[in-house]
Subunit: 148 residues, 2 copies
């Protein structure tokens, strides 16, 4: 079995996409993160879902989450407003997460090795022009590999 048989469509964002759109995609679908593509639809990195929160949560709360409890609840419920006007670029970690990339002919063992090495539950699959075709998820891989 090859990567092309395990492909799923995977939502993407661009570096200059509003980070609120990224948050919405993460909320609607149960995704570990979003693939960030450049202007040529080439995968650049992954935006982990928790990075969106890092942008929205005040630093003093991240240092000591218990402090967050003393913030009054109405204010606490509204913290995502901080995301407005910010882009995906703003949300990326300083050390971008490695997004493994392969071609449609990769074997399951190769896909598994890529996920294991990079700790990424996702491998991007690209065509010969390095354009994103889709992704293979850990779930899809395990689902097809486990004996029934």
């Amino acid at each position: 079995m090859r990567a092309r048989e395990l492909l799923t469509d995977f939502p993407t964002v661009r570096l200059d996409s509003p980070v609120v759109d990224a948050a919405r995609l993460l909320a609607e679908q149960d995704l570990p993160g979003l693939i960030v593509v450049d202007g040529e639809d080439s995968p650049v990195t992954i935006l982990p879902g928790t990075q969106v929160l890092r942008l929205a949560v005040p630093g003093y709360c991240q240092d000591d989450p218990a402090l967050a409890r003393v913030v009054d609840e109405a204010h606490a419920d509204a913290f995502l407003r901080e995301l407005h006007g910010r882009t995906v670029r703003d949300a990326l970690p300083r050390q971008p997460r490695e997004l493994p990339v392969t071609d449609p002919e990769a074997t399951v063992l190769e896909l598994a090795a890529l996920m294991a090495r990079t700790h990424s539950p996702l491998v991007a699959v690209v065509d010969e022009h390095r354009r994103l075709m889709g992704a293979v998820t850990l779930q899809a891989l395990l689902d097809r590999m486990l004996p029934v």
Copy 2:
């Protein structure tokens, strides 16, 4: 809004559970990982899905995933058999991943701060005896917090 209103049931495994069971749970449900509990149902750590693969994929393939492509395909498809007889304990990373834990009264801002600080898309919620009640996922948090 408080953690108790955002709780989801979350599948758990024990340290001595067969790792094949963990792989099956990960394949059936779209989960970033599994909560590992001790004999008292107290959360211990999280088992990231990719760790299951680390146990199944031969080391030489993880060092150089391209090598995996030369393994014949029938053999490649069978690598998950390597998991038989292994337990969740065997699959845990040497440096266990931090699983943030809170109580049902945590506010959304506190939950978000915990996820942001630990890079975990999941917060375990425990009762007064530290028994697992469920988890709040990044998706549930974003879904309830984003303005419609």
